[in-house]
């Protein structure tokens, strides 16, 4: 189960309205390499890890990703705060408005809704962990693209924090993968 802590993992305090960045940041909310997908993927994969190290790591990284979902949602909410209908229209957010006004909905930057297909699970530690390592690298790339598109320090600070977490998670998944190769052999589950 989970207990809520009434704070963010890293503070988000965006003072400047920026609808372009709000729309683009949705990629890390409801996109295939986004935080929501990452959290659900790891929490779902943990049940089929072969031993307790895997249970723990997938559980703990999946839990941390939930805190990242909350950071991204906070950034999008603050970036859209006070936006007029005309402004939403100018930045292609009227489809979001029609569905949920200023509320946020898990879609990617192109407005494609979140899909359960992003939560890949093969039930084989080698397939799953190597997929997770790749997922961390893909999310790192996305954070770099996002950082290339803004100069607002209120966004760059949390984005660079989140990007570095991808680097650390990649390393831990890799350590677990290497440990399992040592323990169970190169061939994965079978």
């Amino acid at each position: 189960m989970w207990k809520y802590v009434k704070k963010l993992q890293y503070p988000v305090d965006v003072k400047k309205k920026d609808l372009k960045m709000a729309k683009l940041l949705l990629e890390q909310y409801g996109g295939g390499d986004g935080e929501f997908a990452a959290s659900m993927r790891y929490l779902n994969q943990r049940y089929s890890m072969p031993d307790e190290r895997g249970y723990a790591l997938l559980n703990d990284i999946g839990t941390e990703e939930l805190a990242h979902v909350e950071m991204i949602a906070s950034m999008v909410t603050q970036l859209m705060k006070g936006a007029t209908l005309e402004e939403l229209e100018r930045y292609g957010l009227t489809s979001n408005y029609v569905y949920s006004d200023h509320g946020i909905f898990p879609v990617n930057a192109n407005g494609v809704p979140f899909s359960a297909a992003y939560i890949d699970t093969k039930g084989d530690w080698r397939s799953d962990l190597e997929s997770d390592m790749a997922a961390e690298q893909r999310a790192r790339s996305t954070y770099e693209y996002l950082m290339n598109l803004t100069s607002d320090p209120d966004l760059l600070a949390p984005l660079s924090f989140l990007r570095q977490r991808e680097v650390v998670h990649y390393q831990r998944f890799k350590e677990l993968r290497d440990y399992y190769i040592e323990k169970y052999g190169e061939k994965g589950k079978n």
Partner: protein
């Protein structure tokens, strides 16, 4: 623990990042809790920044924000060590460092909650009337 696991654990310890020397801050391979927090990473060998020349400092506007930053940093140090320990469960130095941070965080949270209200529903501040859990700030408000 069977012999195979013992062998693997010894192997992992030998090649671990641990070079901790008894008091946090003295460890040459780790940032301290705040320096690690603003980088998103406690382990110096994993820090790999992009675009920014130096990490952004957190600039708390008042005492409450300052205390929360300290709690953020201690919580972060615990999270990063937790993930490390998941893959290096026999690293005694990192284990004791985790527990030092855990103890310090527990004290800071108690101090914060007494002054400013609950961070979790375990807080004694929820003895007060009326129900204070709903009080602002909620974290996404900025």
């Amino acid at each position: 623990m069977n012999n195979y696991q013992k062998f693997v654990n010894n192997f992992m310890d030998q090649y671990s990042n641990s070079n901790y020397m008894s008091k946090k801050g003295n460890c040459s391979n780790l940032y301290d809790d705040y320096q690690g927090f603003i980088r998103g990473n406690l382990f110096k060998n994993l820090y790999d920044p992009y675009k920014i020349k130096q990490p952004y400092e957190i600039k708390p506007m008042n005492e409450q924000a300052d205390m929360l930053t300290k709690i953020d940093a201690l919580s972060f140090a615990m999270t990063d060590l937790q993930l490390y320990l998941d893959t290096h469960p026999t690293d005694r130095n990192m284990l004791s460092l985790f527990n030092e941070y855990r103890e310090e965080k527990k004290n800071k949270v108690r101090e914060y909650e007494t002054k400013y209200g609950s961070l979790t529903t375990n807080s004694n501040s929820l003895n007060n009337y009326p129900w204070g859990w709903i009080d602002e700030p909620w974290p996404w408000e900025g």
